[in-house]
């Protein structure tokens, strides 16, 4: 929108100017658009007189939530704001000044940081955009949350044709308050069709200078910068950088792709006047310098651009793209491990979890892959019998709340991909498009619209080509089609398709050859599902690792693999060292800092199974029963020393031993005997200690977590042996609507599961209707409700009332910091759960177990 020879001068602060004109602190500035239009117009006019070519309307907080108490309709406030800005432009007689509709953050955080949904945020922004008739452009500014920024950008792009600038606010650590990294912002929005990107507010120009340089290398978009007048004094709220200094530092930013500059908090028309002078002076010098290029003057060594300019410009122009979550950018500059485990294909336990909506299991898989070194996670939730769109959206949301690696959205259904692309926070990798017309025409437009990267599978209507050349031809077709749609080619990553060595042995070499062709001729990154190669062969890790190494050498950049395979991760790490990618082997040494040569493992006696197990394994030996604990002696007499050791491990909170002992007992003892004969008595012992005040909450939880680990072993054993797990009954748990503190409820959940109950966990901030529906669907005799704050107690009361009204026969137990037995009775609860232990006792009573 600018010819980029002339830098656009934006305006300065509105808020502080309004306060100087009499607006009280914390007052609603937008009200002045209607009540004091002349004062607002005067501020705009002073900025225009100082040199501003773009004035931001006084609509920073003009959204339906913040304007709820304004006393005027939202639309009227926005229309008046644009009118005031337009009036100032007209009065000035200038024709080069644009009116920008200013959109600030909503003031609520989107899930999982807060309680607002992405769709609600989108609606709020869309309403603002639609009201902005008569504006020349849209500026989304002072954003902290990447999700919210994305909602705003989508709302702007889908509801208007105006140019859009986006600026976020970064702190001294180069991140926004919500943790968004500069590179993440750059990657997320570089291909979403906005016209300028940058930073405003929070810091002064000096602090922003290095961040401007970083952003310059991370995007090819023009940069927009609007710093504060330095840093505010927290007590006096005055800023410490004067106009002259402000201009001087801004000048240093100008070489780095800056297309628009202005000021934020603390700046005034004086700052903009000085800024205008400096910018125009710099432009004149730049033009003179460039005109003299190659002449004697240039040869005299009087460099116009700063020392680091060439280096940063080269990085900007040569860096491949990447993908990002809000807090982590992964550039496609070197081989990156994509974790393959979030995928039901061939995984019984994962399928079970998907069907049961067991998010904890799925999230656990994600965390373990990230801890093992995965830099990207593939997410595939396609399974007959589930709503793939809804599940994909849910899994992505929950994953992004607990892991910071970017995701690869794996589905071939456009509707699933679109729903996921919309709510994904950051820039994802889409897996995948292929050479079929149907796929090209439905998937690529989504990639384009949401600015994603995409995996191109080298197959088409004719299937998978046998030769490398055939697959390469499909790759070329996908690339040219994508480019014709305006997708930058670097956003394509080509999958040359791994064939199974056991079935198509000769094909493996063709895949490797195709990878090399993609690398050498198309200069694009290559993806492979590595583990497929070994299907049907024994000791798969050996084949996988060798294939991975060979493929890397041929140009593979994005192996989709099992990061929990030590051998494969080792090969990848070693490759990075040997190819001089991992400089000074730092990452390698970090990964193996605790490594020790393998030693002969002393096999626990119990681990061999059989009768030995009942005598107690090495893992449990030496734990010893707590002094005076007769239960331990009883268990030892009845079930053997191994069982007694497990009991003791639970009582003492020894997680590793607990898991090992359970494993070894499972071969020889009935799993229900382990639960009822060992685990529950152990929990009862700890529970009694807690009730008497001898033990404290952390100790209770520690024991509970040992039992949790033991249950995981039992469950996995039963899945393997095909036996059904026995549940003592189903309980529905929820933290009530309006309340977002859920650790208390989660503690109760763990303990209930410990005692063999199945818990349907509805989460936090749960709609009343959702509780009623879950109670009805499960037919549960017991619903547990939790609330932390006094203010959400009415919501608890309403939920109980709704359960009663629905005629459901369930009992209700309530708990939470502010509850009392009296209040529990008053709001119609059947039971008051003083703590997690008491709640378990109540459940036992209700279920009669």
């Amino acid at each position: 929108m600018t010819d980029n020879r002339q830098i656009l001068i934006l305006d300065g602060a509105m808020g502080t100017e309004l306060q100087a004109a009499g607006l009280p602190v914390g007052g609603i500035p937008e009200v002045w658009n209607i009540e004091h239009p002349e004062k607002v117009t005067a501020i705009h006019r002073r900025y225009i007189e100082a040199g501003s070519q773009v004035v931001y309307t006084n609509t920073f907080g003009a959204n339906r939530l913040k304007m709820a108490k304004a006393g005027y309709p939202l639309n009227a406030l926005i229309v008046a704001a644009i009118g005031n800005a337009r009036a100032a432009v007209t009065e000035s007689g200038r024709t080069d000044v644009k009116v920008a509709m200013d959109i600030g953050p909503i003031g609520r955080l989107i899930e999982p940081l807060g309680d607002m949904s992405f769709d609600e945020a989108y609606d709020i922004f869309a309403e603002e955009v639609r009201a902005a008739k008569g504006a020349d452009m849209i500026v989304i500014e002072t954003m902290s949350d990447l999700s919210e920024s994305k909602a705003a950008v989508l709302a702007a792009k889908e509801n208007s044709d105006l140019p859009v600038f986006l600026t976020m606010s970064f702190e001294a650590n180069s991140r926004t308050f919500t943790g968004t990294a500069i590179a993440s912002m750059a990657l997320t929005f570089s291909d979403m069709g906005i016209d300028g990107i940058g930073m405003n507010c929070s810091l002064g120009p000096e602090e922003l200078l290095p961040m401007v340089k970083e952003l310059y290398t991370a995007t090819k978009l023009p940069l927009v910068v609007k710093p504060n007048a330095g840093l505010p004094d927290p007590a006096t709220n005055t800023y410490n950088v004067m106009p002259e200094e402000f201009g001087a530092i801004i000048r240093k930013m100008l070489p780095y792709g800056v297309c628009a500059v202005g000021g934020c908090c603390g700046t005034s028309p004086e700052y903009i006047r000085e800024l205008t002078r400096v910018v125009r002076e710099w432009e004149a010098e730049r033009d003179a310098y460039e005109a003299a290029k190659g002449s004697a003057k240039e040869a005299s060594g009087q460099a116009f651009y700063p020392d680091d300019y060439d280096e940063l410009m080269t990085l900007r122009n040569t860096r491949p793209t990447g993908i990002a979550s809000a807090s982590r950018a992964v550039w496609f500059t070197e081989p990156r491990c994509i974790g393959e485990r979030i995928n039901p294909t061939g995984k019984k336990r994962f399928k079970e979890a998907l069907l049961a909506g067991d998010m904890d299991y799925i999230l656990g898989q994600a965390i373990s892959q990230v801890e093992a070194g995965a830099e990207i996670l593939d997410v595939n939730v396609g399974l007959p019998g589930i709503d793939e769109t809804a599940m994909m959206v849910r899994v992505i949301r929950e994953l992004q709340a607990v892991v910071d690696v970017p995701l690869q959205i794996d589905s071939n259904k456009p509707e699933v991909l679109e729903a996921a692309l919309r709510i994904y926070c950051g820039k994802p990798l889409v897996n995948s498009v292929n050479g079929e017309e149907k796929s090209l025409s439905s998937i690529l437009p989504l990639v384009k619209k949401y600015g994603a990267a995409v995996v191109g599978l080298t197959l088409d209507e004719d299937g998978i080509g046998a030769s490398a050349e055939q697959r390469f031809a499909v790759a070329e077709k996908i690339v040219s089609r994508a480019e014709s749609m305006g997708i930058r080619r670097e956003n394509l990553q080509i999958d040359c398709l791994t064939l199974t060595a056991s079935a198509e042995q000769a094909g493996v070499a063709e895949t490797l050859k195709a990878v090399a062709m993609v690398h050498d001729k198309l200069h694009l990154g290559a993806v492979l599902g590595v583990s497929n190669v070994s299907f049907g062969l024994p000791n798969r890790d050996v084949i996988n690792t060798a294939f991975l190494t060979m493929a890397l050498q041929n140009g593979l950049t994005l192996p989709i693999m099992n990061p929990n395979s030590e051998a494969m991760m080792g090969a990848l790490r070693a490759y990075r060292v040997l190819m001089n990618i991992d400089k000074n082997s730092l990452a390698y040494m970090d990964a193996y800092r605790d490594w020790k040569p393998a030693q002969t493992v002393v096999v626990a006696a119990g681990a061999t199974g059989g009768a030995d197990a009942t005598k107690g394994g090495a893992a449990g030996a030496g734990i010893g029963a707590p002094a005076g604990d007769t239960v331990a002696a009883d268990i030892a007499a009845k079930l053997g020393e191994g069982a007694a050791s497990l009991y003791t491990a639970v009582v003492r909170g020894l997680a590793a031993q607990g898991t090992e002992l359970t494993k070894s007992l499972l071969g020889s003892m009935d799993s229900m005997d382990i639960v009822n004969g060992v685990l529950i008595p152990a929990l009862d012992t700890v529970g009694a200690g807690f009730e008497s005040g001898r033990l404290f909450l952390p100790q209770l939880i520690l024991s509970a977590s040992v039992v949790q680990g033991a249950f995981a072993e039992i469950k996995s054993y039963m899945t393997q042996t095909g036996s059904a797990t026995v549940s003592k009954g189903t309980i529905v748990l929820a933290t009530v609507k309006g309340d977002i503190h859920d650790i208390g409820k989660n503690i109760v959940k763990v303990l209930l599961e410990n005692y063999g109950f199945t818990v349907v966990d509805l989460g936090r901030d749960v709609e009343i209707e959702a509780v009623v529906n879950a109670a009805r669907e499960t037919g549960t005799p017991l619903v547990g409700l939790s609330a932390l704050m006094t203010t959400t107690l009415p919501s608890m009361r309403d939920t109980i009332a709704a359960l009663r009204e629905a005629g459901l026969p369930c009992k209700v137990v309530v708990g939470g910091a502010v509850l009392t037995p009296e209040y529990a009775a008053e709001i119609g609860a059947d039971y008051y759960g003083r703590d997690a232990k008491a709640t378990v006792d109540i459940a036992k009573e209700v279920f009669g177990v």
Partner: protein, 245 residues
Amino acid sequence: MVELKPIRMDEAARYLGYGDTTPDETILALMKECEAPLMEACHPAYSVGIFDMECCSEDEVKLAECALTLTGKDIVKHLVGCTKVALMAATLGPGVDMLMRRLQLTSMPKAVLTDAMAGAAIEQICDDIQAELQGKMPLYRQTWRFSPGYGDLPLAMQDELLAAVEANKRIGLATTDSHMLTPLKSVTAIIGLQDMTKELRKVATEDGDAISAPVGACAAGACAGCAYHDSCISRQDKGTQETDK
């Protein structure tokens, strides 16, 4: 600048219900293990605004050049004898929320301990902010921290308090639909500032006027109105105590 110092484990233990008991070695070791990830996840930020008290009725305090009006008898009682009010918003940042979500999936014991430690950390940040304020305004005595939702001061006031210190813009603090703070480990507070020079004069002339009563008395009085009065662990273990520890 206020920076995060090593977390006071005794405070964290108190939140966990230990009272004066020291947790056993296993728990202490686990707490130690939780400390580094928590410190890494914390990005404390705060915003403070100082306002003159404009007028004060029986159940309303108005602040000069500020759109926020504090309502309720309890806040009036809290601000007795004050001429200025400091509004404060502080947060450990959203990194702690993510850490907590993650820990609840991987280790509930660590989640429980980290939660308490984060509670101790945010209180400590608030103490440091008050200490910093004291350094800047040495002639003012500060009351303890009164927050929206205490006594009859509506929780809904949270939103306006955040607006008055521009907490959303400056420190990324927001409220939910039901006026709860997000990120979760955050605090807002209203601190009364008593001009000690005036108070001394008052004591000299009127001798023992209620206005110059020690701040501690005020805190004890307000404890009864606290929403957590009946279930507060500290109270059950120790009886009434000052809340501004």
